[in-house]
Amino acid sequence: MVSAHWTSALLPVFAACSLLAVAADASPPAKLALTGARIITVSGEEIERGSIVIEHGIITAVGAEVEVPFDAMEIELDGMTIMPGMIDPDSFGGLDIANESVPVVPFLDVYDAIDPSRLYFEESLRSGITSVHVMQGPNTVISGQSRVVRPIGLSMAEMSVAPSVAIKLGISPRSGSDRMQQMATLREAMRRLEDDTLRLAERKYEEKVKRDGGTVGVSPDEARSRGRELIRDSDHSDGNRVLVRMLRGDIAPWFHASEPVDVSAAVRFAREHDLLDRAVFIVGSESHRAVDLLKDAGRPVVLPADLFDRRRDPDTNELDETFLPAVFHRAGIPFALQPSPNASLAERYLTYQAAVCVRNGIPRETALRSITLTPAEMLGLGDQFGSIEVGKVANLVVLTGDPLVFDTWVEFVYIDGILAYDRSRDHRLQRMLRPGVDDSEESGDEGARPGRPSAAPQSDAAPRRGRTRERGQGGTAGQGDGA
């Protein structure tokens, strides 16, 4: 999983990634004010025409009657809509490979395998995603630790937002395995942890007694229970330490349970190990059949990209279609939507997924929440991300219209108050949309051939839609454009 030469690999990428690189490089303007736009706060009422003031990447004021500080750079966004940056709740898109061949790897960290030059991040940014929860893929038993990253930056250090957020516990059998093996492996790992811990406790107790100059005069069981308190995190092996933190609640267990049967096994496992408090269930398209169990569990779920379950009755051949979010909404279970990994589908836009929800009877607030605040809360980052509120990180998406309308474009994306994306300077998009470009000319992944000079027109080809007035010091985030 270690991406050994990422630095050298990145160098040639630099030029092509100017879009990202520049944004990440730029330090946020000290004060920024986005004015005149409709603001979808998600946490509260929508503001028809309001302003957001950002200081050092944090939202300091939101509202219709906000006074713009004299020294803020004001960006007028008349007619535009601002919503919180969206969150991709479970993705391996940024990893060099999705899975390990070894089933139990809690000691690993996706940090080592995230490739900042992945087109995935650029795509995420383009669709308004400002936080990505990078997890190992579903082909695991106990995965490495996940991270929340922002899709800008040239290195993991720049990208990483929150480390060791979660561990994926694979309940659905990984490929080449069956359910009995999967569960036996999982249980075996937990039993091994317990055994290791007991032995460690015994050893610690013996050491302590030895240090104190006494003799171990108690039974092994007693020694173990006494020794438990003496164990420090650093005493554990790498893998066990992570699992202990998970059992303690520091790291969230995310259960990959794609079938209803896996959901019941996952809930049972979570209960057995007292993991339910922070558990999140990544469910599949048939999970609505196990909705009662999930309701009992009272924990949020990550829904699959395909929001419909279609089943044929084997007797009547009648098609039965279930809209998953409706089932979970009725049950009162918070859910996060996922973009489809298939780039050819409209489902790759979280806004589209939310729009499908609204179309199928989910309240608009719930639908918007399921791509912003709900995943943020699932990740334990609800106090930082997911809504437009004073004190939260200024991860904002500026749209040309309502997010749930399909012809709405993402115009700007602000991450930590930095202008991370500007459609007028999205060369790849410009190039794709330029009329008369032959597909054959476009063949090949530009990201894969970074040295190729961009034939796209420069930023002046597209008119600027937001008018920037400088008040005091601070340049636009895009000052490095054309480097």
């Binding site: 009995m180 249980r187 039993r191 079938e259």
Partner: protein, 945 residues
């Protein structure tokens, strides 16, 4: 009451058919749409289920109740008993009068979960329950009646893991009966030489070497017990996690299982392993049982003595041929058979590996071949395996307090043709057979036709038609099976040769153009009464016949509506000659047949013309160049059955006529309008007369060239039946007239009508005369002519007229003297419609006309001459039988002969493939006074008496 077959389900209901029937159908349809609805309605509360037979499988008690009643409450069985069991008031009743109920089958071995893919020889951590999907669809097993099954982690390792016991249906949270049921131990070659186990160090460490893959034990029979004991010892006595390099993993799981005294499920086939298994169980003093046993003979007795239960694998090569090199063809080991027969061994039957789990019931039935008692076999696939698996307190038998997991079967469980109709799990319907219109009727006697009784026969009905009749007909899956019992007699529905059902007391005649079929509607109480008496078909005639011939319609006494019920709108034409003048015995009939003949000729001519024309067209001749056929005269014949039509002789008298003027007119009534012409005084121009009949009054005009004075009008009224008096007026003058009808038949008038020149010269058909259409059918031989006759002279004359001269089929009605001309009737194929009371006194002896004619070879049938009084037709014949009438002859007359005489034998009258499924099930011979009508099936509908 009545019901569709697809819902062999009956609720208590009143017997008000009309709307009730529809309501019930509606409800049943609703049930079909929301099968869960009924399940929900059952859940929680109480209900009683009533069936022909309940097999309890209980260890003690009668074992079978027939009929049986079972009370279910909140998913558990409350009470089971025979018909004496009192159903508390207010408890809804599920009535399954044909069904057999038994506990859900318990498959002590199943292939539902495939074996795990782990390599460990001792893998106690593998739990079969992990691979079980409680949301899964196991309808294949439910359909096979298996409600409880054992899940095995596999039989491929020495200790392959832990088994589970689950249900195959019901709500997901109720499906798991035992999560960790047993430790699965496999002796014999299957468990030997497990694959090598490679343990990777993750994360790698510098101080630990990477070992080559470890060879696991056991490698042979010698080491299998050693390996087991070592594993158990390690689990119990070693602390902590396994040492590196050991071949035993999952020690904590094994420790837990052992400490919890989980039963040992030992698979063994070879005698040596079986012996070892028994010794192992004994040595460790563990509860357990043995699965398998192809070679049991040497050790069977020892096992039985040791009290070790056995799950015996049945090799039932039913879906494929057996392997060429195989075992003894006996279904069960002889020693095991003896022990089982003697009840000396606790034995459950289960499918052997490779035999589909769903075949359990059929495989168990093969054990009957070994001469084992049916009850013991049923126990060994229900209660005994449940007890062996450790769930005997919940499932496996129908006893108070146990879960209501039971099957609704069409017949005895071990019969090959038996199907599962429904599966209840925890008192709710978990599976029901898809709706099917197929019905199988079984009975001790089936009357296929005269002289063709089938003993212990069965018949298959689909979509209201008979598909197969024989000793063992096909039993399609999901078919509803009616087992009427060994004493039951099944016959075709009885046929009433003439009755008046549906006329509701109307005594009037119907016009010859009108069929009684038009009066048919949804059956009501009278129809139901008749149908329930076994009469499924009545030939309905108006009470009074018109002289021009009344139509008789073939009407089923039951059905959903006219479309179902009307078999033939015009099944016969009926004339009543009455006591006609002995010199003109066939009088009106002869004239009417002549009219019919002319009408038929017109049609035949048309048909010939059309054929010729089509031939010319086909030959491609240019129709335009051909000289058109000369205009064809077309005869239009009017009839005389009304008050006007005929020849009237009249006299005009009074001012200003100098002397009375006599004349004759011919008039024809059509509807209430008449037209005619002046016959005398004859003129060379036709003077036509048109007018209307209003009550007793006629009004009209005479077309007469009066030189601009207009046409004379007339007005008159009937002063007697055939006399009209009135006035003729012209320009304000009126002259009185009187007319008397001198001839009833209008003068046959030839209307010369130039044929309308079609563009292609196609001949146009004659006008359809609804009144003559039936006669046309008669003359074409399609339907019979029925004539009520009295004297032998009449019989001869009518036979001569109808059969010889008109070439039509004839049925005589009444015909007290028929026996006199019996030879003639037989020769001419003339049938006789008799009253059941047609007794005659011959030489001081009472003889029934039916017998006399039957012996003379004349076909007869019987008429009720009643509406719902037709329900006593069978009773009247029973009386006749008691007075000496041949029951066989009477039954033939009531069924096939009646159908043949009417020419509908292709549809009814016999129980023959392709015919309508109009059948009656009697408790004994239909003409036995003590025989009750058990059931009546009319097409797709069924009536319960």
């Amino acid at each position: 009451m009545t019901q569709r077959f697809m819902h062999p389900y009956r609720k208590n209901a009143s017997t008000r058919p009309g709307w009730m029937v529809r309501l019930l159908f509606g409800c049943l349809m609703l049930l079909l749409v929301v099968p869960e609805g009924i399940a929900a309605a059952h859940s929680g509360d109480r209900y009683a289920i009533r069936a022909a037979r309940i097999i309890t499988s209980a260890a003690d008690g009668p074992g079978t109740f027939s009929p049986g009643i079972m009370l279910v409450r909140s998913g558990r069985i409350e009470q089971v008993g025979g018909s004496d069991l009192v159903i508390p008031p207010g408890v809804s009743i599920v009535d399954l009068p044909d069904a057999t109920i038994m506990p859900g089958l318990v498959a002590a071995r199943s292939g539902v979960v495939s074996r795990h893919g782990g390599v460990e020889a001792i893998g106690a951590g593998y739990a079969a329950i992990d691979a079980f999907d409680p949301y899964g669809d196991l309808r294949e097993l439910l359909e096979a009646g298996i409600t409880t099954l054992h899940l095995s982690p596999g039989e491929h390792r020495l200790l392959s893991g832990q088994g589970a016991v689950v249900r195959s249906g019901g709500s997901p949270d109720e499906r798991i009966l035992l999560e960790l049921a047993d430790l699965s131990i496999n002796l014999g070659p299957a468990g030997w030489s497990p694959p090598d186990r490679l343990e990777l160090l993750v994360p790698p460490a510098s101080d630990l070497s990477i070992d080559p893959p470890a060879v696991q034990r056991p490698g042979s029979r010698v080491t299998q017990f050693l390996a087991l004991r070592a594993a158990i010892h390690s689990a119990l006595h070693e602390d902590g996690a396994p040492r590196r390099g050991t071949d035993i993993v999952h020690l904590p799981a094994l420790r837990d299982a052992w400490v919890d005294v989980r039963p040992l499920r030992v698979h063994a086939d070879e005698a040596v392993d079986l012996e070892g298994a028994a010794a192992f169980l004994r040595a460790h003093d563990r509860p357990g049982y043995i699965v398998g046993g192809s070679h049991l003979t040497p050790v069977a007795g020892a096992l039985a003595d040791a009290g070790v239960p056995l799950v015996y694998g049945l090799h039932a090569p039913m879906r494929r041929s057996a392997s060429d090199i195989g075992t003894d063809p006996s279904v069960i080991d002889p020693d095991v058979r003896d022990l089982l027969s003697a009840g000396a061994i606790t034995l459950a039957l289960a499918p052997a590996p490779g035999v589909p789990t769903a075949d359990l019931r059929l495989a168990a039935a093969t054990v009957l071949r070994a001469g084992i008692d049916e009850r013991r076999i049923i126990d060994s696939i229900t209660r005994v395996p449940a007890e062996i698996l450790g769930v005997g307190d919940r499932v496996g038998s129908l006893e108070p307090g146990k879960d209501a997991d039971f099957l609704v079967l069409t017949a005895s469980p071990l019969q090959t043709s038996t199907h599962v109709m429904r599966v209840y799990i925890r008192g709710r319907i978990a599976w029901r057979s898809p709706a099917s219109s197929a019905v199988v009727v079984r009975a001790g006697k089936i009357w296929k036709g005269p002289g063709e009784w089938i003993s212990n026969g069965s018949m298959l009905i689909e979509h209201g038609r008979i598909v197969e009749v024989g000793h063992r007909v096909a039993h399609p899956p999901h078919a509803h099976v009616i087992d009427a019992g060994p004493d039951a007699h099944v016959t075709p529905g009885l046929i009433d040769g003439r009755g008046h059902l549906g006329l509701e007391g109307d005594n009037r005649a119907l016009a010859s153009a009108m069929s009684p079929a038009r009066l048919v509607g949804v059956p009501d109480r009278p129809e139901e009464r008749v149908a329930r008496s076994g009469v499924t078909m009545q030939f309905v005639a108006p009470r009074a016949a018109v002289n021009s011939g009344s139509q008789i319609a073939a009407i089923r006494t039951w059905g959903s509506g006219p479309r179902d019920r009307v078999v033939a709108a015009t099944a016969a034409v009926y004339f009543d000659l009455g006591n006609t003048d002995p010199l003109d015995v066939t009088g009106g009939l002869q004239r009417r047949l002549q009219e019919g003949r002319r009408y038929l000729d017109a049609w035949n001519k048309y048909a010939a013309d059309l054929a010729a024309w089509e031939k010319r067209q086909a030959e491609g001749e240019d129709a335009a160049s051909e000289s058109r056929p000369a205009p064809v005269d077309e005869s239009v014949i009017r009839q005389e059955t009304d008050r006007i039509t005929g020849i009237w002789a009249g006299r005009l008298a009074g001012m200003p006529l100098p002397e009375p003027l006599d004349g004759r007119v011919s008039l024809t009534l059509v509807g209430n309008q008449f037209e005619g012409r002046l016959i005398e005084p004859a003129t060379d121009v036709d003077h036509s007369i048109t007018g209307r009949l209003e009550g007793d009054t006629i009004r009209g005009t005479i077309e007469l060239d009066t030189g601009g004075m207009g046409s004379p009008t007339f007005e008159g009224r009937f002063t007697a039946e055939e006399r009209i008096e009135g006035t003729v007026s012209l320009m304000g003058f009126s002259i009185a007239f009187t007319m008397n009808r001198v001839e009833r038949v209008a003068e046959a008038r030839v209307v010369a009508r130039p044929r309308r020149a079609g563009t292609d010269g196609r001949p146009s058909p004659p006008a359809v005369d609804e009144g003559l259409e039936p006669l046309r059918a008669v003359l074409e031989g399609r339907i019979p002519l029925m004539v009520a006759v009295r004297s032998a002279q009449q019989i001869r004359a009518v036979v001569d007229l109808v059969v010889d001269r008109s070439k039509a089929r004839l049925i005589l009605v009444g015909a007290e003297q028929a026996h006199v001309e019996a030879a003639l009737l037989r020769e001419k194929g003339v049938g006789v419609l008799l009253s059941p009371r047609a007794f005659q006194r011959v030489d001081n002896r009472i003889v029934h006309q039916g017998d006399r004619l039957a012996r003379a070879g004349v076909r007869t049938m019987y008429q009720s001459e009643a509406e719902d009084g037709a329900r006593s037709l069978r009773d009247e014949l029973i009386y006749a039988v008691s007075r000496g009438l041949s029951a066989d002859a009477a039954l033939a007359s009531l069924t096939e002969h009646a159908a043949m005489l009417y020419g509908v034998e292709e549809r009814i009258g016999r129980l023959e493939p392709g015919r309508d499924a109009d059948i009656v099930i009697f408790s004994g011979h239909p003409l036995e006074a003590g025989s009750a009508v058990r059931r009546v099936i009319v097409g797709e509908e069924e009536l319960f008496p």
